[in-house]
């Protein structure tokens, strides 16, 4: 895929309690690719870990990228590394931006940010404000102290567009039913935040009859494509051929090595090119192509990234 882009940490600041802001600048003479609001990059840690972070700076600014990184004490160490080790002047490698969370152009927007989920949402809100598209921003946080970008929001957004909801201030509680009922019927809903928050927001919208096409979510770090996982077996229906998939090997790679070719394109579970019928066994779905309901049906999977919950999957080629 694409090469890594070397960047220098130009600025490091405390955005809020537990949130570090990094400003990343290209090497002298280089520039950074443009991106759309909602985009994220992969950040490669010096220890080889790769994490996804949303770009939260001013869209259109290709002189620097801005990230907001929450210290996740229960995480696997990526954010801890940034908080403890990364300083101004350090060199980091990042990927080109990718956007799985794009705004639908020109359509009114209801934005919901939970905690660190504000990072893509702030870029989207700024863009909507500048383009004159109707929008409302709902920002949920545990406490006042954990609000990031407070001055930027106050500066760029009229107060009636912005609604803060704090867990420790009950009268600011987010009344989803009312917000949804009062929304423009053409509005699209965008949500980013912790899993529980997303379930709450999206669940409420579905319950209120919002069509899936108007619901857009970003898990606050995009799900990682991992080849790691337990070994399992694939049986080819009809021939009975058994293909072992080793831990650390993708199902598609194992099939190719066994001489069974599956069409591949994005190799990260987004495009659906490799979608393959499953006749028996339960896949461990790791793709972003199938909807939750389609994944639950367990009658197909994306062998480029998905694995198995059962020792064997029987597939149709």
């Amino acid at each position: 895929m694409n090469g890594w882009i070397s960047v220098r940490v130009a600025e490091r600041r405390e955005e809020a309690e537990g949130i570090v802001g990094l400003v990343l600048a290209p090497l002298p003479g280089a520039s950074l690719p443009p991106y759309e609001p909602g985009a994220h990059i992969d950040l490669k840690m010096p220890n080889g870990m790769i994490r996804q972070y949303s770009l939260c700076g001013q869209v259109g600014d290709t002189t620097v990228y801005e990230l907001g990184i929450l210290l996740e004490t229960a995480g696997r160490g990526g954010s801890r590394h940034v908080h403890e080790q990364v300083n101004v002047g350090d060199m980091l490698d990042i990927s080109a931006p990718r956007n799985l969370f794009a705004l639908v152009p020109g359509e009114p927007a209801l934005l919901f940010a939970g905690g660190i989920g504000i990072t893509p949402i702030i870029a989207m809100a700024d863009h909507l404000a500048r383009s004159g598209t109707p929008y409302a921003l709902h920002y949920c946080a545990r406490t006042h102290a954990r609000i990031a970008f407070r001055e930027r929001i106050a500066h760029s957004h009229a107060p009636h567009h912005v609604h803060y909801h704090f867990d420790d201030v009950p009268q600011t509680r987010l009344d989803m039913a009312r917000v949804l009922a009062e929304a423009d019927p053409q509005a699209h809903l965008y949500a980013c935040g912790p899993a529980g928050f997303m379930d709450f927001v999206i669940g409420a919208a579905r319950a209120a009859g919002w069509p899936e096409a108007r619901l857009h979510v970003e898990h606050f770090s995009a799900p990682e494509v991992q080849d790691t996982g337990d070994a399992f077996e694939i049986e080819i229906a009809g021939t009975g051929q058994i293909v072992p998939v080793a831990s650390g090997q993708s199902a598609a790679t194992a099939l190719a090595e066994a001489g069974i070719e599956v069409p591949l394109s994005c190799e990260q579970g987004i495009c659906g090119t490799c979608l393959t019928t499953v006749l028996a066994g339960i896949p461990d779905h790791r793709d972003m192509y199938l909807s939750a309901a389609e994944q639950a049906a367990n009658d197909c999977f994306t062998p480029c990234c998905s694995r198995a919950r059962t020792p064997r999957l029987v597939i149709e080629i």
Binding site: N2, P33, A96, R98, N99, L100, A213, E261, P263, L264, S265, C266, Q268, I270, C271, G272, T273, C274, L275, Y289
Partner: protein, 357 residues
């Protein structure tokens, strides 16, 4: 800076236009650029089709600037005469024919109203690989034909045809009229040289080009069945029915209009394609004026494609290294381009094997 040159499949049928494009007239020396080669097409006095390289082996003058003489063609630079087998018959002022004075010919077949040429060794040309289509002369159908040229790389045209979600956006003024097309994620079946896709678009309003013909509240189902094969042959049954109540499988509404389109896209070179297409209705569902309306709309719609594809081409050349992300609508394009690349790799390795042997 060297320009990247596209490699094209050789063992493959390319459409060289409609049979009616090549007449019997004295000036009917038709030249088509196909996959980087210029191919001369003409008919012998018996109507047989001849396809040969449009290049005189002497000093490379185009034979299409020449003159038809019986079943032969004369180069109008120095008068060399070539038969339909490509063999040189005469060099004016020279008694003997010098070695190598032949023009390569190509296997050419007429089927379903189209002319097909095989770029590889004529001995290996397999007519079974020509796609199944419905030709304009088919007695069960009322079809009109057309052609356009688009300045794009043919892979982008393949991607366009392998993913019809763009109907909602590119063709909002013609075939589209709602965002329903963009919400469908069809399942594709792999074929040895392409993909086959069936799905039903349910409960949609009339497309914009036909809105005025129906009650605004009328809703329709559309059964779509596409076979897309390399290099880019798009054959589609498109059956319009009154909205039924089936939620899966084919629509159970009443068949209103049974339409069929056959489309063949031929890469001319890296950056342009010729596009030959037909669309129309079955005799059984035809009514006066409908095929003329479809014909005019089809051209309007393909000019909408041309606009977006040529804009895309310009940006892709402008940003050659910029990454392009994938979305859920890329499954069809992903599969088609995967098949194409697999066949190209196969040809490359066969070529290496031949060279080594």
């Amino acid at each position: 800076m060297p320009t990247k040159t596209e490699t094209f499949l050789q063992n493959c049928w390319y459409c060289a236009g409609w049979g009616t494009d090549v007449g019997l007239g004295s000036r009917d020396l038709v030249v088509r650029k196909i996959a980087g080669r210029s191919i001369l097409l003409y008919r012998t006095p018996q109507g047989a089709l001849v396809a040969m390289e449009d290049r005189c082996p002497h000093r490379s003058a185009p034979l299409s600037l020449g003159r038809k003489e019986g079943d032969a063609v004369r180069c109008m630079y120095h008068g060399m005469l070539f038969g339909p087998d490509g063999r040189c018959r005469q060099v004016p002022g020279m008694d003997k024919i010098p070695p190598g004075a032949d023009v390569p010919t190509l296997a050419a077949v007429e089927k379903d109203g189209w002319i097909w040429v095989w770029l590889g060794d004529p001995a290996t040309a397999d007519p079974a690989l020509i796609c199944e289509a419905v030709g304009p002369a088919d007695p069960d159908w009322v079809l009109k034909t057309n052609a356009i040229r688009i300045e794009t790389n043919y892979r982008q045209e393949i991607a366009n045809l392998a993913d019809l979600s763009h109907v909602s956006w590119v063709h909002g003024e013609t075939f589209g009229g709602s965002d329903d097309w963009s919400l469908i994620r069809p399942r594709h079946k792999n074929l040895p040289r392409g993909i086959e896709t069936r799905y039903t678009v349910r409960g949609v309003p009339a497309p914009n080009f036909a809105k005025h013909l129906f009650d605004p509240a009328a809703r329709f189902d559309i059964d779509v069945h596409v076979t897309l094969t390399v290099p880019c042959k798009f054959i589609m049954s498109f059956r319009i029915k009154s909205a039924g109540d089936a939620t899966s499988g084919e629509s159970n509404g009443d068949l209103l209009l049974d339409t069929f389109t056959s489309q063949a896209v031929t890469p001319r070179d890296d950056g342009s394609i010729d596009y030959y297409f037909s669309w129309g209705t079955s005799k059984a569902t035809w009514f006066p004026g409908i095929v003329e309306l479809m014909h005019a709309t089809n051209l309007d719609a393909f000019l909408e494609d041309k606009r977006i594809l040529e804009g895309q081409r310009e940006r892709q050349l402008q940003y050659p290294d910029a990454p392009q992300i994938d979305i859920v609508h890329d499954a069809g394009p992903g599969r088609m381009l995967w098949v194409l690349d697999k066949l190209l790799e196969q040809e490359a390795s066969d070529h290496v094997a031949e060279t080594v042997a």
